[in-house]
Amino acid sequence: MGQPNKSIHFQEDTTLQLFDLLDQLVASDLPLIYSESRIPNQQVQLKAGMYSIKALISLINIDGLELTEKNESYVLTYTSPRKNYVYSGYVRDQSSGEVLIGAIVFVDSTSFSITNSYGYFSIQTDQEIDSLSAQYLGYQTTQHSAKKGSQSILLWPIKTALKDVTIRAYSVAELQHQALPGSHQLDYDEKGDIPYFMGEIDVLQETLMLPGIKTLGEDASSIHIRGGNNDQNLILLDEAIVFNPNHFFGLISIFNPEAVNQVQLLKGYIPAEYGGRGSSIISVKQREGNYQKFSGAGGIGFVSGRLLLEGPLARDKASFLVSARQSIFDLSTNRFDRNAIRRSRTAFQDLNLKANWRVNKNNTVYLSTYLGNDRTKSILEQTNRWGNNTATLRWNHLWNDNVFSNFSAIFSDYNYRVVDPLEVASYIGRSEIQNINIKYNTEWSISERSEIKFGTQLLWHKLSPGERLPFDTLSSTIPIVLDAENGLEHGSYISHSWQIHEKLSLQYGVRFTGLSTFGPGPVFSFEENKERLVDNISDTTYYGRNEIIDRFLRAEPRVLITWRPDGHRTIKAAYTRSQQYLQLISSSIIPAPTDTWKLSNRLIDPLQVDQYSLGYYQGSANQQWQWSTEAYIKFSRNLIEYKNGANLILNPIQETELLIADGRSYGLELMARKLTPPWTGWVSYTLSRSERRVRSDFAELQINDGAYYPDNHDKLHDFTAVIKYQPNQKWSFSSALYYNSGRPITFPSGKYEINGQLVTDYSERNQNRISDYHRMDLSCKWEPAGSTEKKWHHAWAFNIYNVYARKNAYTYLFRSSKTNPRSTEVVSYSLFGTAIPSITYNFSF
């Protein structure tokens, strides 16, 4: 046995092969054990000198070479270092070149990536691979040869897919594992398969079929997600904020279905890159347009007509999309009452424009705009006009295969205008909210198990809460222009996704947000220990232009833990804190176009929402079914509530009409989906509560003596079933069934007479409920034989809304009887008391 500490001496600088060096060591009686077959033979350079064996091995710069001492011998081993191979790029539609958002690209069950909002993916592996597979709803799952670096993966739509290519699809459970808890990627039906009101195809209406989402009536004008107020939903169109997403009083959304690429709803865990609203994110991405050829699509129904044109500006390099929609409701009803319609009109319009330019493989630029408006003209010559306008400029840049970034500059505007020439003081009224949004986001794929996202955002708000100007020179109106509110909202975030273990992953991050409000404008102080009334204003401070009035800084931690015990089951726990610096001031319980927004200030703290959620997700082994169960509890602070008889219209000090409330909501959401045709659909059920209580030092301002009371949208049970049957390519049938508990209402506690009028007395708020709601809709779609093979594709959709003509109560009216004024009666008021049939024609070419 040799001497373990024996040294070896080199008299001069030496260059030799590793195996030769090891031979010399062994020849020097060093007790060294190694195998040439397991060690790479590389060139070694040594300077002259005396070395111990440990020092010598450490000088040999070969990663993975390791010397250990065992039983007075040295054992030399080699572990091949892990290599990182990066495969990245975009997933696109084969026929149009459009990017596919949310497509899954995978090597196996542990190496996969989901395309981001721009269709980009990045996968890292420790060994070279020959192929990548990609899967997307409605597209054939296919395998593609992989190349290191950036590439495009093209997928075929199912109807034109290559039929002889079959490949293992990602299992339902694995997809659920990837999804965020409380998130839905809306498979909205753009072909009219699922029935909606008057046969219209709609994005937001489908959200009403998902668990945890409620409305006050049957329209989508007031969407309440997991107990949140309507204004707690951040609705984005190509990242631009949409302040009023509805046309036609909430029955139709502003999103032209042909122009929509993807809709994502986040209501549970909200990643740190999103902020600004308390309850949910509804992100609508417009399509890019066809990079390959000129094409179009459209449709016409009783309510609206739609047309979309798209095509390449430069083949595979640049594309455009133009989409327009015009209401024809007036024309439809004109058949029934020409005179009335000539006097009273309702109309809406949309225009979507988009252009995209793939500058090179590392840079893509997008420009999109939306212009929309609603108009009504009453028989009394009053006209109302309101609408959203947005513009988005985005620049995607790949720093390298691992680092993706996006820069966006966005403008959003919502305005309302009313002209009333017959009012006591004829006038033109207007209110508006505008914001300019600059943001920069980066996604850095560190390794196959780790990804970091970070970014920053600046959002400039300008709110013009209202003005009222004389209609003409004869008008007696006093010009009133309320002070504008100006605010700079900012948010910076960092988040880390970490696959700790094959079964355990963690996503955590924090978003730092703030708001600074600026002059010019007055700030009112009120006398201490007195109700906030105009008569109790103690001081008024005027701030100059761009002078900071108030400043808020907040942190929003977000955490998501995912545990996947096996390939079919996933458990997720999440916590999300959100701050909201902008709240809606509504002049009615139902949102109205006249509503205005208000920035947080020293009298109205930012809304803060904390949500805890826990979810269990399972997919069937045959991939035909998926089930999910989610439970949540949510606490809200600084909700806006209104004093009794609040006077909000053109009120320069709205704070005197507002109260501050706390909220709590909790619920259990169940959902089951059948995914494989011919029978598809889903069933969802929500058991939930949503309550609030008003905080006030003054007993007379408290509601229900300061106790928690049900929110207006609180509904204990909510059930939806959607069933679709497609026996062949020609026909498809579907039905949707809705049931929910009646919403809260305040019943009278008595009655009396004043000045000859019957007055109803009310006491405790929202302690009663209107009757339960249920409805069934049916739809049938007929696509003529051979239509899909022709250049001109078309289909007819037949719908019946409210099939069994249920008179669902929208509200109850308590009034004196028309037949006997001494007695009173309760009247159930329904929006739609009958079945409404409709027909829609859709086409594409």
Partner: protein, 279 residues
């Protein structure tokens, strides 16, 4: 609110209503004071009743044995005596401008109810009453129109004073008295200017007599009546808050936590009338 209703007009035309039978368990028993005094009258009436169950077929039970007094100036007072059905009537007196009036009611159980001070505002400066014609769809004959008429008032609002107007509209001497027909206007948007008020909600035919009463009411009364109207028209539908208990300017001094419903109001009134002539 009218604007909101016009915006929601298309929904309203699709709507339907049906009378339903639901169980409303209510049992409150609160004092109600109906104290609208107007310069149109010389003998004034204050009515005191109690609330009754909403589903009751009876009218509000009267309070018949209260002591009712209106105080004004420094130490002047007018007694109101019970006549019938909770009606308390005064001897003839004329309301005086710029004088604070205050109501006091003492119930038999000793509870004392008092109002805030109310002051008679100057008479409204209305110049004239006219009517305009409008063509509306004939409900009986498709594609035909009817020519009808609506009243238009010209007036001048007093400068530097917050004025609150209440309008009563009469057709052939019959008051149009539904909550929708209660017209309330504040001068916030035309303070100090001449104005023209078009009563487009009131349509008259040829030979009808239009009569309008304009009352200058207090801010308290305006707020109370506005809330009443909003709740009566738009119950649970288009109002900023859920329906709530209407509270005027009355307080039970003996039991401050016990609500007193109704209001004490002093208003200045003027009448205008015109007959719709053939064109």
């Amino acid at each position: 609110m009218r604007k909101l209703l016009l915006i929601l007009f298309p929904l309203i035309i699709c709507a339907c209503q049906q009378i339903i039978d639901i169980d409303i368990s209510d049992n409150n028993d609160l004092v109600v004071i109906d104290g609208f005094l107007s310069s149109r009258d010389t003998s004034h009436v204050i009515r005191i009743t109690r609330t009754v169950s909403f589903s009751s077929q009876q009218l509000s039970p009267p309070v018949t044995d209260a002591e009712v007094t209106v105080f004004y100036s420094e130490n002047e007072e007018i007694q109101f005596l019970h006549t019938s059905e909770g009606r308390y009537e005064s001897n003839s007196f004329i309301l005086q401008a710029s004088v604070p009036y205050r109501l006091q009611v003492i119930l038999t159980n000793g509870d004392t109810i008092v109002s805030e001070n109310e002051t008679l505002k100057p008479a409204p400066a209305i110049d004239s009453l006219h009517y305009f014609s409008i063509d509306i769809p004939d409900p009986n004959i498709p594609r035909q129109t009817l020519e009808r008429y609506y009243p238009v008032i010209y007036g001048v609002d007093a400068a530097h004073i917050k004025d609150f107007y209440m309008w009563n509209v009469f057709r052939n001497d019959t008051l149009l008295s539904t909550p929708q027909e209660l017209i309330l206007i504040e001068d916030r948007f035309f303070n100090g200017n001449s104005f023209r008020n078009e009563f487009t909600s009131f349509l008259f035919d040829e030979d009808d007599e239009i009569k309008l009463e304009v009352l200058m009411i207090s801010k308290n009364a305006f707020s109370y009546l506005s809330q009443f109207k909003d709740q009566a028209i738009n119950q649970n539908l288009n109002q900023p808050t859920n329906p709530n208990r209407l509270l005027g300017n009355l307080q039970n001094q003996s039991k401050p936590s016990e609500y007193v419903l109704g209001i004490f109001s002093i208003s200045n009134s003027r009448f205008f009338s015109k007959k719709v002539e053939s064109p």
